[in-house]
Amino acid sequence: MKKMMVGALSALALGLTAGVAVAEYPERAVTMVIPYGPGGATDISARTLADPLGKVASKPLVMINKTGAGGATGSVAVQNAKKDGYTMLFARVGSHSVNPAMKATLPYTLDDFRFVGVYEINPVACAVEAGSDIKSMDDLIAKVKGSPGSVSYSSSGVGSLLHLAGAMVLREFGVEKPLEQATHIPLKGGGAAATAVLNGTATFICTNSSALASFVSNGQLRPLMVTTAEPVTGFDAPTSVDLGKPALQQLVGWTGIAGPAGMSDEVAEVWGKYLTEATADAGFLEKMQARGSVIRLMDPKESQDFINGQYKIFRALVDELGMRIEG
């Protein structure tokens, strides 16, 4: 209600100032699909952005959650929507670079979407339980190589960023067959994945630093490394560059906005403008940074290149390790 009020008010304000702007996109409310459940990283990010976006958009933005199948259900809904820009998607690393790279049966590909902007980057961190005798990445790798099968890592499910991240980190550090030498334990959701490391079900976890921040500051988990080139606040751990594995910089989470492929340039342009203004909002920046995200707006071209680049790296790894899911 509040959002609609704000939307209506800003529509009025814009109408008064712009005057002649008739028949310009958007002419009516835009549906924004969040392909993950309420309370998840994507949902919170989307709803935090919705606040400043609602102020700059001339029509109300209606946020709806369409959950299921690791983001596929919501993504398919936007893939099949009209290409008029009135149904947009909050795309996420899981639904739009890991899933396409891993799942042959996915009902969509990256070509089915037109990205109007990636606005958030989430550094990835790897951590073990605080009481573990593993103190560094070297210890971890030595243990994987020394006694194959003794090390396991948790994820929020098959085809999640966490699933791929664990394998990619081990591979970069020279483990030949990460999926055979270490065990992947899929759980239901990111919270369960972190708990699995806390209670000893799994040895380590690699996920968005924001999901681990409170455990690290509470001294329950010990961070081993972060994948970004810059250190992450609160994580007393070397970066991938410090450890001499700059390729891992590609292993980051992100959130962006996309529409169905074939959407007009005009719509993409409007969204580029909206995102530029919304991501500069001080309240938005403060809330997002408090949760450990890096706000970096990419224009449509850069977003597309970034996602395609990440997809290619993930796909190459998936093919090399035989992780592709065909059934």
Partner: protein
């Protein structure tokens, strides 16, 4: 500083008009949202979250907690009145609540649901305040093997809700297990039974199955036999629960609360299994066991105590470990983080005042729930007096709306009607629906935890008996199964003698 000094400090923090107002508004919003089929407590909390950004941390979090508690209770209102659970957690309340409403005792059932909820809520909050540390370390001992044995034990509930024939109950449970396998395989990520339809990739929507199974058959029965109830009119939902009745159910309420506290403190189980477990325990201990499922007040009390007992306890892993126990607490963690607070052991040191403030707020919330709930059921119970010809079409509209609202998906409405057809057939052939539902909830948990255990141990079954917790649940499972089998033999002997 002693424990009581801390509590006093906390009291100072919440003894202001904003906190009381936030709790009251939260509970009102929660009860209304919970009472609307398809608006789950989770959605209500998620929609309230943005409003807390502008509030002070403690007021904001109390608002969310109010919505949460109100939502869990609110779900029982439509469950009792129109056989449509407002939230999954209240599905066990249907079993006896709806028959009571049919008998013209809707007011009584609602009153008992409220008193049981508030009592369980209070016990749960006290458990959180007094035993948070101990329960949290207990919860951390729960890995996949412990979970597996717990769920295995919980499946024995099916024997308790099967009604006359265990075989029919088992058949119904098998169908539930079968439909629960639709979706993506946990370990391999491959498609299961989805016929290449993206709509089925995420599995069947839980709410759609729930409403389809319970509410739709009721409406279809009406269409099938429109004059069936002409002789009897539903009496006014006016009569109220007496103190003697409350006292008679008190044992079951406390037992349900304790079950709720234990299951709530373990991340990842949720309120629905707790309600069913509490219900089946109450039935097992009750002298008028035969009356369960036909309108036994104690059944309502036990089910509601079981699901509300979870509410305070889910905050145990949240505050003591920083781990969200379910989706709702995951959203509440978000509210903490927005305000720069990080739940976990350190918070007891750095922001102890806020934690104790929350504790005091929770205690107050039980009282507010009692007040708001009393008003709400006085307003809602007259739904029972609406003529069926008006009520059922309205319920159908509500069901369609509610199922759509869960995931904004038209497909789910189709699932609801398909399940409604199945539910109707089950009703005609005397197959109980409750075992289906329990299997549908517990089946995937059982499978996932079994497979996770096997991954942990590299395929060796030893891991399933790795510690005292697993031994306890194995023993309890064996005892229950033996008891059920013996009772079955005794019954068939009696049947042949007669």
């Amino acid at each position: 500083m002693s424990f009581f000094d801390n509590l006093l400090l906390g009291w100072e923090l919440v003894s202001n008009i904003e906190s009381f107002l936030a709790l009251a508004v939260g509970v009102v919003v929660g009860v209304i949202a919970g009472a609307i089929p398809g608006m789950s407590a989770t959605m209500a909390v998620a929609l309230t979250l943005p409003f807390t950004f502008a509030l002070s941390p403690i007021t904001g979090i109390l608002l969310l907690l109010g919505v949460y508690k109100g939502g869990i209770f609110g779900g029982s209102i439509p469950a009792i009145l129109i056989k449509t659970p407002g939230t999954p957690a209240s599905s066990a309340t249907i079993l006896d609540g709806y028959p009571l409403a049919e008998k013209g005792q809707a007011g009584k059932a609602l009153g008992m649901a409220l008193y049981a909820s508030c009592t369980a809520d209070l016990i749960s909050n006290l458990a959180l305040i007094l035993f948070a540390g101990w329960l949290a370390s207990f919860a951390l001992n729960f890995g996949p093997p412990e979970f597996f044995t717990l769920i295995l034990f919980s499946l024995t509930i099916i024997a308790g809700v099967s009604g006359q024939s265990l075989l029919r109950g088992a058949l119904s449970a098998l169908m539930g297990l079968l439909l629960a396998t639709i979706g993506l395989d946990l370990v391999y990520g491959t498609n299961r039974f989805n016929f290449n339809d993206p709509n089925l990739m995420g599995g069947l929507n839980f709410i759609a199955v729930l409403i389809g199974l319970f509410a739709i058959p009721e409406i279809l029965t009406k269409v099938w036999d429109p004059r069936g109830n002409d002789g009897s009119t539903r009496q006014l939902g006016g009569n109220w629960v007496s103190f003697a009745e409350y006292r008679a159910c008190f044992k079951s309420i406390v037992r349900g609360s304790v079950i709720g506290v234990f299951l709530g403190s373990i991340p990842g189980i949720g309120a629905a299994p707790s309600a069913f477990l509490s219900y089946s325990e109450a039935r097992r201990k009750s002298p008028n066991r035969e009356n369960f499922g036909k309108g036994e007040l104690e059944g309502v009390a036990a089910a509601e105590a079981g699901n509300n007992g979870v509410a305070g306890a889910t905050l145990i892993p949240l505050l003591a470990l920083g781990v969200p126990g379910d989706v709702i607490t995951a959203i509440i963690i978000g509210a903490f983080m927005i305000h720069g607070l990080q739940p976990g052991p350190l918070m007891f040191v750095t922001n102890a005042d806020i934690i104790y403030g929350l504790f005091m707020g929770l205690i107050i919330s039980s009282v507010i729930l009692l007040l708001v709930g009393s008003v709400a059921i006085r307003a809602f119970r007259f739904v029972a007096d609406i003529p069926r010809g008006v009520l059922f079409p309205a319920v159908l509209v509500l069901c369609v709306f509610g199922v759509f609202a869960v995931n904004n998906n038209i497909f789910d409405i189709g699932v609801m009607f398909a399940m409604g057809g199945l539910g109707f057939l089950m009703l005609r052939f005397d197959l109980p629906a409750a075992p289906f539902l329990i299997a549908f909830i517990l089946g995937p948990l059982l499978e996932d935890n079994f497979r996770q255990s096997m991954l942990m141990s590299g395929g060796s079954p030893d891991v399933l008996v790795r510690g005292p917790i697993t031994w306890v649940f194995w023993t309890m499972t064996v005892i229950t199964v033996v008891a059920v089998v013996r009772a079955g033999f005794r019954n068939s002997k009696q049947a042949t003698q007669n």
